[in-house]
């Protein structure tokens, strides 16, 4: 097991990473001395793990379980209100806590409900997807979608602890494991070349859910994200580096109706495009681009998605919330292991899209 201390907003919390942690939830939650607990989960994760979580927590405090219908389409205020109702039904008071058991969507909904129940009660993240373990567990962002846009309603609310049980990744569909690896690769690419090399080497073990390899990768990824977020808690500057591959990725998701590709898959492809763009800007060598593509492919992620419209992609990227005043700012690679923010000339962007199979 690895334990990582994250200090954001002046209130440190621990991330516990390793196998077999679900059955040890009680020891991580006990220090909170909660009056009651509500495990919030969904219909996919609940049947697999909720009763084990409840059994581990029951000795700490009376523990109820609430199951939300899964899927991003349900990440809205209705879901939050359902959790608030469940908290009231469970008799939760200001000293109670929420346990978010599931992927990033569950963490977002349950964390936001905790943020606004009685003006804020505590919550513990128990992420059960690789993406949530390396990404959503750090940063304190909670919230839901509005019909007019994603994540428009929410709050910054730091968890009291994060418990990432690597065993739960064994029940993850292989595509979702790969999608999580996209973020892991991203952390290496943008901040730590040695780590990028290590992930590349470990990819077969990671894809086979090797405990040791997963524990090391999750810990290092959380460390990198926490360091960046700590330096920039309100997303004014450096935090933008975490969007490496995301401007391209969001366009891919938007152009394919958010259904064909998982977020991590779109980001995988987006990182290849960002690498290509970086080379066209004279920042990295062709061999570096090929190294990125090779790693993305080895993680079983798409390196190119042919046939999307170049014009539609440009329009989508201009409308992205990371765009400012019409100009598109991209996160590009200065070298493998170091990302920077740049405003990009349109001919370089055009060339990258053309080379990437856009028409």
């Amino acid at each position: 097991m690895r334990r990582l201390s994250v200090d954001l907003a002046g209130r440190p919390y621990d991330i516990h990473i390793g196998p077999g942690l679900l059955d040890r939830l009680g020891e991580f939650v006990r220090p909170l001395r909660p009056s009651r607990l509500l495990v919030v989960t969904d219909t996919r994760v609940g049947p697999l793990y909720a009763s084990r979580a409840q059994a581990a927590l029951q000795p700490v405090a009376p523990t109820a379980v609430f199951e939300l219908a899964g899927g991003e389409t349900g990440k809205d205020m209705r879901a939050v209100e359902a959790v608030l109702d469940a908290l009231l039904a469970a008799g939760a008071d200001r000293k109670s806590a929420v346990i978010a058991l599931g992927g990033g969507v569950i963490g977002d909904i349950a964390g936001f409900a905790a943020a606004i129940y009685m003006r804020g009660i505590r919550f513990v993240q128990v992420p059960t997807t690789l993406l949530a373990q390396v990404d959503s567990s750090v940063g304190g962002k909670t919230g839901v979608n509005h019909p007019r846009g994603k994540n428009l309603i929410g709050a910054f609310h730091q968890p009291e602890a994060v418990v990432a049980d690597t065993d739960t990744l064994r029940t993850l569909p292989p595509r979702e494991l790969s999608a999580g690896l996209a973020e892991v690769l991203k952390h290496g690419l943008l901040a730590d070349a040695d780590y990028f090399g290590r992930i590349e080497h470990d990819l077969p073990r990671l894809l086979a859910c090797d405990e040791q390899a997963l524990t090391e990768a999750i810990a290092r990824s959380c460390e990198i994200k926490a360091a960046i977020v700590a330096r920039d808690e309100k997303e004014s500057g450096e935090r933008a580096l975490l969007n490496l591959g995301h401007t391209f990725g969001h366009a891919i998701e938007a152009l394919t109706g958010y259904e064909r590709w998982l977020h991590g898959e779109a980001v995988g492809c987006g990182m290849c495009l960002a690498a290509d763009l970086s080379q066209r800007l004279g920042l990295i060598a062709r061999a570096d681009v090929e190294a990125v593509e090779k790693a993305v492919a080895a993680a079983k992620l798409p390196t190119r998605i042919d046939g999307l419209s170049r014009a539609a992609a440009l329009e989508s990227m201009r409308g992205d919330k990371k765009a400012e005043a019409g100009e598109i700012r991209f996160i590009v690679l200065e070298r493998i292991g170091r990302a920077v923010q740049r405003t990009v000339p349109s001919d370089a962007l055009d060339a990258t899209l053309a080379a990437g199979g856009y028409r």
Copy 2:
């Protein structure tokens, strides 16, 4: 004009108090350099003041106005979602700000909407009732009711500034002015005997909306509340003193269906009961109780409400969120100008209720 600096949660803001401030809103909001502004108000205050507020703000940033249907019954998530929709319709982004123009309910709803829009945007309070000017402007509490209880959903979100225009109190129904004075008297009673004496002396001028008297009273009341809240930002201890008269008051409100008496009226009567109880506990003299009753009566507030059920009052007070484990803790007076928290023997409480006209 008086300017008061409040430093809570490490981010100080100013409270501006005096006549004619509504037309000067622009100068208080300009330092925020907002991208856009949304004035949130209700159907009572909007027709009186919204267009003047808008005219004062328009030179600072494009300003839209959104009018909510008034009344506490509308203080729910539906109202918050309506404000969120209005923010989106107005094109508000992370650099926009909300202007809450109205009483405490508007401040609660608009402040909470600001707290969760894009994970928190800035807001400015422009309270137009005396109660909101002396009470809701300090403390950072925002939120709405749930069908199962009051203020169950919310957030701590400090305003960037508070602008209390004493002229707006001239359009306030006299009963609401008196209800606000209940909180003013309360601040004197619990923290500052000199101030209590001054208010008593100034009551005729306060009831006649004398600018000078109002400005002084609002400033001193905000100062007292801010000092208490600053010492206890999360309501664990000292903040409870602000509930002087409120345990009795909440019971009166509950027993009369929240319709017969305004909150401030119930608190006025509640302070008389708290004074009587304090005397029965041997803390203050009968003359002190009479001084409290005299001041409450002079503010045109009820000093006693006959005929309520003693058993129902006790049950309501036990169920109040300030009750812990069956025992009822009361805020009582150690002397005029100093309140303390006490667990009260039931015979003293019974005697107070009987003397207060309960049957």
